[in-house]
């Protein structure tokens, strides 16, 4: 490289650039935090309500059974099984349909095919999971996914 561009200039670009863009990122994060209440359905999450407790329990069950290990949720997770961010809408805005689907998975699977495990959830647990998925489907995701199939 030409001697006009020295090592100390390169060093200054590294430190200066890093600090500047970290601060810019923090500023954008701050702005996003202020915009989120309009988009993320947090009113539903109030832990003093039955709905809020149900969604929290549903998310806990979602995590404790590693659902993201096969499915995507808002496009993130594994790509082995369908997107679930919009499953509530795909199942006709019907929580009962979601609960029935999870409840009647065959324990030994389906020969030759992918199959969801049988988790033996109680009805309360199924309800909490369905409520969590309904909440997820109501988040403002800028129009994603492109269609009902996720």
């Amino acid at each position: 490289m030409a001697q006009t561009f020295t090592k100390s200039m390169a060093r200054n670009i590294f430190y200066g650039g890093t600090v500047f863009f970290v601060l810019l990122f923090l500023a954008l994060t701050f702005d996003t935090s202020r915009a989120l209440p309009e988009r993320d359905q947090r009113a539903q999450l109030d832990p003093n309500t039955e709905l809020g407790q149900k969604i929290a329990r549903g998310k806990g069950l979602w995590e404790h059974n590693n659902c993201l290990g096969c499915h995507t949720l808002l496009g993130e997770g594994a790509y082995f099984a369908p997107e679930l961010g919009n499953v509530y809408v795909r199942f006709g805005n019907n929580k009962e349909a979601i609960k029935a689907y999870i409840k009647y998975r065959p324990a030994e699977g389906i020969p030759g095919r992918r199959s969801m495990p049988q988790f033996n959830f109680t009805d309360d647990e199924l309800d909490a999971i369905a409520e969590f998925l309904k909440y997820s489907s109501e988040i403002n995701t800028a129009g994603w996914p492109p269609n009902i199939q996720g």
């Binding site: 996003t32 988009r39 404790h64 993130e76 997107e83 020969p111 988790f119 199939q149």
Partner: protein, 469 residues
């Protein structure tokens, strides 16, 4: 090897390669489950195999980074490691924690593991790549803190070079950002927003600092190019990595509930993310072309050049392929993502680890390089694994394009599972390429045994090279 304590890296490198083997075996299980849906079901369901695949990857890459650091830092600082015993102790803690965690994944249902480890006290489990029980995560924090203390003290008391400084900044960043793994609110948008502070700011942020500094170290050693030149390149590369990569986080904030302006920030900055990777490629070739010596370890130079090229292809080109928000609208969460993930991790982080292992291993065993015969094994391994991974990526890309077309980019979108069955051909070809990858990895492991055997026969040494070679 100039300092005795550099030898602790041997433990880390050995465990890294062993875990790499486990990772690839589970990758083959996953690949087969994509086409034979009930393979190993319900004993090892897909999600369990995937956790083993991704978590062993993360652990072995971290082991590799730590080994690389323990090897590199004493040489740069020109003194022994501050506390070699601490490095050894932390290795065993890390290995046992990782082993217990993987055993937990395989032996009990995940929900049981969550209960046994009292996840409800501080829920952190069940999120992609952060599936480890909270107690394991705490263990990782302790190991990393002890590691940083050890390395930091060594640098503080010794010579401070740009290489070790950039490496240390990368490692401190790694530790600090991991703390966001402990933040898991019920609010899904906030959960996802800060989850990316671990995942994105690791692999498209601070890990690039670690990678670039290890690459710089190996190039200084193998090419003999003036340190001043290398350090200037290093500063420019890591500057560009962070300038583009930090705001580039925005490419994960398109569709998770965050404001639409992230589509602009994310698209523009992540479109620039290939630049630092391209510069690493130019840098590596430039240094090798301007080399002042012919290092007898040709294999290490091959791994280094391959690393720079495939990191650019995987992270740079395949990343750019789906990073613009209008494109990502269709590709988000499809096999395109999987294609990019495979080549990016292999090119950048698998290969940088193998580069330093290949360079350091002979030196830690009292020879500058392995016998030419062992190096040829290594070179075969490089080509087998790299070509196989390129094909895995191409087949997944083919699957991804078809998936996007049939399921999303059409007036008559079809169901996920209907589309998956139509992709079977691509998945079978990917599995085949995966088998070739495993063969390449076995060849790599064999090269160590060939090297050890040949080391007993001085006439096979690659070291005394004629000047004309």
């Amino acid at each position: 090897m100039k300092y005795k304590s550099q030898g602790v890296a041997k433990l880390y490198f050995t465990a890294a390669i062993a875990l790499f083997l486990v990772q690839v075996l589970f990758g083959l299980i996953l690949g087969l489950q994509y086409v034979v849906g009930d393979f190993l079901f319900p004993e090892i369901p897909f999600n369990v195999a995937r956790m083993v695949h991704t978590n062993t990857l993360i652990v072995w890459l971290l082991m590799g980074f730590m080994g690389a650091t323990y090897y590199l830092v004493p040489e740069e600082a020109e003194r022994e490691l501050y506390a070699p015993w601490l490095a050894i102790a932390m290795f065993w803690i890390f290995l046992v924690a990782a082993g217990l965690t993987v055993a937990g994944y395989l032996l009990v249902p995940y929900a049981t593991l969550a209960e046994l480890t009292r996840n409800e006290l501080l829920p952190t489990m069940g999120r992609e790549f952060l599936e480890q029980p909270t107690i394991t995560k705490i263990g990782i924090v302790i190991v990393v803190l002890a590691f940083l203390f050890n390395v930091g003290m060594t640098i503080l008391k010794g010579r401070k070079t740009v290489v070790s400084l950039i490496l240390l900044i990368g490692l401190v960043g790694l530790a600090v950002l991991f703390l966001f793994a402990f933040y898991n609110p019920t609010n899904l948008v906030l959960d996802k927003f800060y989850w990316w502070w671990v995942v994105h700011l690791w692999v498209e942020g601070v890990w690039e600092l670690i990678m670039a500094s290890i690459l710089a170290f190996v190039l200084i050693k193998t090419t003999g190019v003036d340190r001043e030149v290398v350090e200037k390149w290093l500063y420019v590369i890591v500057a560009l990595a962070l300038i583009t990569g930090i705001i580039g986080t925005g490419h994960h904030y398109y569709w998770i509930g965050t404001p639409e302006y992230w589509q602009w920030w994310g698209s523009i900055f992540s479109a620039l993310e290939p630049i630092p990777f391209f510069m690493m490629t130019v840098f590596a070739f430039n240094m090798v072309n301007r080399r002042r010596r012919d290092h007898p370890n040709k294999a290490a130079v091959l791994w280094a050049l391959g690393c720079a090229v495939l990191a650019f292809l995987g992270a740079g080109v395949w990343g750019f392929l789906h990073t613009l928000s209008p494109v990502n609208f269709y590709t988000h969460g499809t096999q395109i993502t999987a294609a990019h993930g495979h080549l990016a991790f292999y090119g950048a982080y698998v290969l940088i680890n193998i580069t330093i292992i290949s360079y350091a291993w002979p030196l830690m065993h009292g020879r500058e390089a392995n016998s030419m015969r062992a190096q040829v094994w290594e070179m075969w391994s490089f080509w087998l694994m790299s070509v196989a991974m390129v094909f895995i990526t191409l087949f997944l890309t083919g699957a991804g394009i078809l998936q996007v077309y049939l399921q999303r980019f059409t007036d008559v979108p079809q169901q996920f599972m209907v589309v998956q069955e139509k992709l079977a051909l691509f998945y079978w070809l990917r599995e085949l390429a995966g088998v070739v990858f495993l063969i390449g990895l076995v060849v790599y492991v064999v090269s160590f045994f060939v090297a050890a055997r040949d080391a007993k026969r001085p006439e096979l040494s690659a070291e005394p090279r004629p000047a004309s070679a």
